[in-house]
Symmetry: C2
Subunit: 211 residues, 2 copies
Amino acid sequence: MSDTKGLLIVLSGPSGVGKGTVREAIFKENPYHYVYSISATTRQMREGEVDGVDYYFVSREEFEGYIADNTLLEYAEYVNNYYGTPLAMIQKTLDSGKDVFLEIEVQGAMKVREKMPEGVFIFLAPPSLSELEKRITNRGTDSESVIIERMQKAREEIDMMQHYDYVVINEDVNRAVDQVNMIIQTEHLKVDRVVDKIKGQIHQYFQEEID
Amino acid sequence: MSDTKGLLIVLSGPSGVGKGTVREAIFKENPYHYVYSISATTRQMREGEVDGVDYYFVSREEFEGYIADNTLLEYAEYVNNYYGTPLAMIQKTLDSGKDVFLEIEVQGAMKVREKMPEGVFIFLAPPSLSELEKRITNRGTDSESVIIERMQKAREEIDMMQHYDYVVINEDVNRAVDQVNMIIQTEHLKVDRVVDKIKGQIHQYFQEEID
């Protein structure tokens, strides 16, 4: 594994689609397969969330310090909160041959695509927009005006889908998890990732025939 | 399924790598998933092979008739035998939304790539060339001079690997089958295949909000 670089896997999609739930299930199932890159955010911690596990929950002042110091791969302001991806660990992990898993907002994912176009970009889509509206409403964390804002935002975000590589529809969490795992395994079978290794072996075989 | 075209899946690789065994196992496991495109060949039928199932076994004269009538997607001459892919059924099956599975020689696969670049090209590679030599020898169907010719050919064929999309190493047949199935399922999740459908749904949702 360490002779090839790891893959950067980006799971993204509209707010409320269930990115966090899918990511948690992937890591519960395969705790050592991927290295999860924890984002920093200024949004309020929700019930059940843990600082340093789900996000690094930081103040606006701290976050603006990261921006000033240029230590983020990307950051975005979303419904009046900052979200961002600390850079240092990602590059180190990829170089060591391990895959890095990012779960981020669409705006941020598009910035990562610009900087690391070789990443694998997966768009998690809701089964329908009515279903998305239901999920956001049932979560009960947002006021009605925020819900309307999120739905308009979702429309814009789904328009960004074409800049991704794959679409996984989050109808059933287990199925979505299987599909994300399948995509990652398949990406590892791409010719570009193995061609040099195999050509080396061929060279060696015919070398030995001659010797 | 019928609102999108089927995928053309091409499984190929050097002679002796086990393409036929992998293809048989795929079809035994998922008999209705893919439509198998049976090739025509002028080579001798081997023990256990069935005409019209493994290949259409035809005479040189018949084959040259197909060439003259231009009814083949591709054909190639390989170790003094013709191999070719009848065209008519493939296009019809793809249009109906079903995937077509081709198992062909490398030379032929490269011609299919030129004509249908949107196909999914999978290179089945031996775990090593020494292992490939062993398999060809153990098959016991080829004379020593044919074996040497096949090994030189294999070297050239493995050089063609970079024109494929994926590499599956046939170390264990079951694992190779799983990987081929995984590649095909993943290809169905590519953005280009679903984007129009999802954008239609969004349009409909916001249309209903306005009404």
